[in-house]
Symmetry: C2
Subunit: 349 residues, 2 copies
Amino acid sequence: MSSIKAPDHLPSPAEDCEQLRKAFQVERHSDIRLIIEQLLIIIPFHNCCVGLLVDQRAGWGTNEDLIISILAHRNAAQRSLIRKAYAETYGEDLLKALDKELSSDFERIVLLWTLEPADRDAFMVNEATKRLTSNNLVIVEVACTRTSIELFKVRQAYQARFKRSVEEDVAYHTSGDIRKLLVPLISSLQYEGDEVNKTLAKSEAKILHEKIAGKEYNHDEVIRILTTRSKAQLLATLNHYNNEYGNAINKDLKADPNDEYLKLLRTTVKSLTFPERHFAKILRLAINKLGTDEWALARVVASRAEIDMERIKEEYYRRNSVPLGRAIAKDTSGDYEKMLLELIGHSDA
Amino acid sequence: MSSIKAPDHLPSPAEDCEQLRKAFQVERHSDIRLIIEQLLIIIPFHNCCVGLLVDQRAGWGTNEDLIISILAHRNAAQRSLIRKAYAETYGEDLLKALDKELSSDFERIVLLWTLEPADRDAFMVNEATKRLTSNNLVIVEVACTRTSIELFKVRQAYQARFKRSVEEDVAYHTSGDIRKLLVPLISSLQYEGDEVNKTLAKSEAKILHEKIAGKEYNHDEVIRILTTRSKAQLLATLNHYNNEYGNAINKDLKADPNDEYLKLLRTTVKSLTFPERHFAKILRLAINKLGTDEWALARVVASRAEIDMERIKEEYYRRNSVPLGRAIAKDTSGDYEKMLLELIGHSDA
């Protein structure tokens, strides 16, 4: 369930654009304010004027509020229309305008949110394949929690944006077992029907159990089963595994809790079978980290607000005894905090 | 989320009563049919008439369909109005009429469903305290998955119906550790706010861990913490337990998987912290049992359809790889099956 709330009376894309433009223009005035303030610091004997300027800040600061009040309350289709109308009216990409006007964490969440979902995923996966921002978990997450058709669109968006295929970049960036897992995962177009072959589920559960018991975690068959079977079929296999061999598979994949390949296997299983819990865990780790992991926080909020954020909040609370909104409010501040809270539907935190 | 669907144009309670009355009268004619059929079996040379009678069955059989089409699509408040209107119009309690007309599993689910929720719980808890239908798990379930005010109403309904208090009957029916756990659970009126005292959560997690490590599962402090703390506070304690001592508490309470007291402790924890999963498990056990446990099935469907059945279905599928509706359709039949499927919102299974 989505956590974003559209207003009862939805303004037209043109009206939204006009308001956004206003928000940016206020911002430009406030650049002038900054220059004046800096001058005042340089010439301290004039600081009798500072009081006056500070009093006027509240009026100047409304621009970010206006941006939040519009963008955080429009769904993907509505944001796309706004972006189109903005380009037609002002001859400039809304994303470029936002990029110019905003900064730091607030900028990142607004940009991620405003991107088309498939393009956003392509952008994040690309970051994840770069040396300085490498993050294999993001690749698994995108591969396993999007629908087949969504993942296909991510791959198209990736090619349009980066002029390379996503599997090409993932393969180049990785090696060994991790490559063996990630390339088929990100390339898959799994069947999404409900049909389950029970005989197959039993025989593949047996294969998984044999290989895992023999510590052959990187066996071709393990990877084949986890990366090619439909969610329904894999769920049947994993449930049979649990029933027949006494443990959930992820428990048996914890032999070495710090091994990255095993971690990615566990993330694959969790993302495929219980995505809300996977995301709640990512949020938990992001927030509990010394110096919040803003990228993980923004990634999950931007990509799940319209999908299953209500359920993620439920799972978050179950494991942390603190509402997600309150945890975010404690660890973030300013416009960035406001935007996150609006997106998760917890602006009164 | 509720799984029942009210019609777009809701008939008045009086209209519903009229239709129900019609359904019962068709039923009376079909009693005559049964007598005729039996006569035909006794006098076989007359069986040229049987074909004729069989052809008319479809028309006679609509009564159960009509009952299902009305009652399965009215929420608790609407059913209560229907019952009131029925008593006023026909001078007879609707439940009595249903009891006369219906039979076996179908009768049980229709009656449970038609009862007021608090009265239904009182009825089921009373059964659970009787020797032949004893079921301590039902007592834990009602105590832990209803809100404080709902549980309070159950206790009032119990007194009105049985002229005794529920704690009186539970205490009389049980002994030893189980009594020590069940009596405070069913008598509690836990605070339902969100406030959490973290220091307390830590110190009580420590107490729980010490007692469990020492196998003092029946220690007064263990019972005090589990039976008196608010859900939010207990969740904080149990999460701290998990974080600090490395295991979810229920894992540490599995020392002897067949000990009834330990089972009830685990059910207490699961019902308080993840009710949807508790109910999905009860349904799983009920359906997988050789000869479905119809009482457990009817209990969960009747008591949760209006509360969280959509979520229970989700958890059921996650653990069984089969939609709940399909599992029920496979294990039940006739009007009983139809009623269950309508209530869980899966009539096209």
